[in-house]
């Protein structure tokens, strides 16, 4: 690892060191600040998170037992679901009224728990569709190839670099549907990078990925931080969280129960309770 990358890691870690391990704690330089985000389905409150800040340039993990509302919270922040109430700022812009595609254009790009490769399109087309502000994507301009040929060529160059990095270069003319599950995860991540995002939201990036690929996926996620991106990811696997996360937020029963560094979180009895169910027993008592 180069010295640069080392400083990248230590910068994120250092900024977060010594912060109080309590839910909703203020960060020195938050890229995302969400307050009072609540989502109710009828009488069931799926998400009710008082306050969360995500430190710029960090890898933050969002963990919690099944049904804790992690993915719902994720969907709300990325505009794929509408909150019952709450507001949030992304990179200095009010984001709670934005539609999903506007959130992506603003620089917050997500992936999905069940990978969404565009199966009957080539890997290259999967990448190219990710590029932002393409003139040729306007209907009228589509009729005049000379208007967008140069932009297209530039996007293609960029896609080739990314495909090389994610080891998909040999597959570029294959249909995305021919890729293995793990390769689709890689493709989805590479495709997200075509948008030059400021923040990448990964919904269970490790779900259904074999151990060999897991390691390379981890390196890729670290790579995002080293390039200055902020990463927020949902995950079950505590080992993985421990390995790459700078900061961990824990959700249970729709609420944010605690935050902290991975070490603080592993030692926190509330987290163990949440996972093992003591929390629910306590609530019933």
């Amino acid at each position: 690892m180069s010295a640069d990358q080392q400083t990248g890691i230590s910068a994120a870690r250092a900024a977060l060191a010594g912060m109080a391990a309590e839910p909703g704690v203020a960060k020195p330089d938050p890229i995302l600040t969400a307050t009072g985000v609540r989502r109710a389905f009828g009488g069931l409150v799926a998400v009710d998170v008082e306050h969360l800040e995500v430190q710029r340039g960090s890898i933050t993990a969002l963990i919690g037992p099944n049904g804790a509302g992690k993915t719902t919270y994720f969907n709300l922040l990325t505009g794929f679901d509408r909150p019952s109430s709450g507001e949030w700022n992304f990179n200095g812009r009010k984001a709670n009224r934005m539609r999903s595609y506007q959130v992506a254009q603003a620089g917050m790009v997500r992936t999905f728990q069940l990978t969404k490769a565009l199966t009957r399109m080539s890997v290259m087309d999967n990448m190219l569709i990710g590029a932002s502000s393409q003139l040729g994507e306007r209907m009228w301009a589509g009729l005049f190839p000379p208007l967008w040929k140069r932009q297209e060529a530039a996007n293609r160059e960029k896609a080739l670099v990314l495909l090389e990095r994610f080891k998909l270069i040999d597959k570029r003319e294959h249909y995305a549907g021919e890729l293995s599950g793990g390769q689709r995860k890689l493709l989805e991540m590479a495709r997200a990078l075509m948008l030059d995002p400021k923040m990448v939201m990964l919904d269970e990036p490790m779900a259904g990925v074999n151990p060999a690929l897991k390691q390379s996926l981890l390196e890729h996620i670290k790579g995002l931080r080293e390039e200055g991106m902020t990463v927020l990811f949902v995950e079950h696997d505590m080992d993985m969280v421990h390995e790459i996360a700078d900061w961990v937020a824990v959700m249970a029963a729709g609420q944010l129960i605690t935050e902290g560094t991975p070490d603080q979180i592993s030692a926190d009895p509330r987290v163990i309770d949440a996972y093992l169910g003591a929390h629910h027993d306590a609530a019933q008592r």
Partner: protein, 347 residues
Amino acid sequence: MDWQFVFSQALTQAIGPTMLVYALGAIGLNLQFGYTGLLNFGQAAFAAMGAYGLALAVVSFGLPFWWGIAIGLVAAVVMALLLGIPTLRLRADYLAIVTIAAAEIVRRLARATVWSDTTGGSDGMRGFSEPFFAMNPWPEEGNWSFLFISMEHGRLTVDLGIVDFQYSNRDLWIMTVGWGLIAVILVVMGLLVHSPWGRVLKGIREDEEAVRSLGKNVFAYKMQALVFGGIIGAIAGFVFALSRANVQPDTFTTDFTFYFYVVLILGGAARLFGPVLGAALFWFLYNLIAQGLNQAIRSDVIPPSVLDATQVGPLVFFLLGLGMVLLLIFRPQGLIGNRKELMLDVR
């Protein structure tokens, strides 16, 4: 039994006016269904917008022919917007439900007795095609011949020996315009579907959530596809109305839409030339079977006790339906579709 007559008839029809209507309607569907994945089950209503827009404008309101064309196109755009705004944000099936219902509403409105003084009710309208045929460059009394092509009293015969093609001068004018329109529309479509715009449409067909997550306004793209496909449907309606020189509400049933789908699937969806090849093959087979059976009955190859002439119509549709089922089993990609691409969905 006159096989030459049967094949000549079938081939004549395979590139004739009616086939052009199917081809155009299916080209519109191809953009919506083949490329974007929109289930428009109301293409007949878009054709009706074109046909009735033209007929009402010219016959009932006495407007010039070109105004009628403009009104038909605007009506199709308005209909696409009306159907699309409430449904395109919802799941794909809602568009299907709404379009199939809307198509029936349009047909019922057209045949309603309340305003039958204006629309002609279930009898429909005629008398709007004269300005179109007045522009016909093919002379009514042309007489010439060149190699194997000859024209007698405005009737063109292309005699290839084994088979011959015959068209009246009115058919020729419809075909000139119809094939011209198909050529122009296919060039435009070809540019569009191979552009980044077309790539977004295909992405939406595959997974619209994914495309949304990449910062594309999916609703706007779907609306553009619905409107443009609807406009092509209205053009099919113009050709249909003009080739028959009348409009009748009951020709715009859901069957009409389903023929467009048959043509599209037969030719190969999401292939530029799929609808044209599909329409030619569909209409060729239809005429081949119908004419073949009629000839067989007339020359007593099939005795009347087995099949009489009135049963030919239903039997043709039965056979075409059977053929469609076999096609879906053995060649689901259609004539020129990509089987590999189609099979990717099956995991």
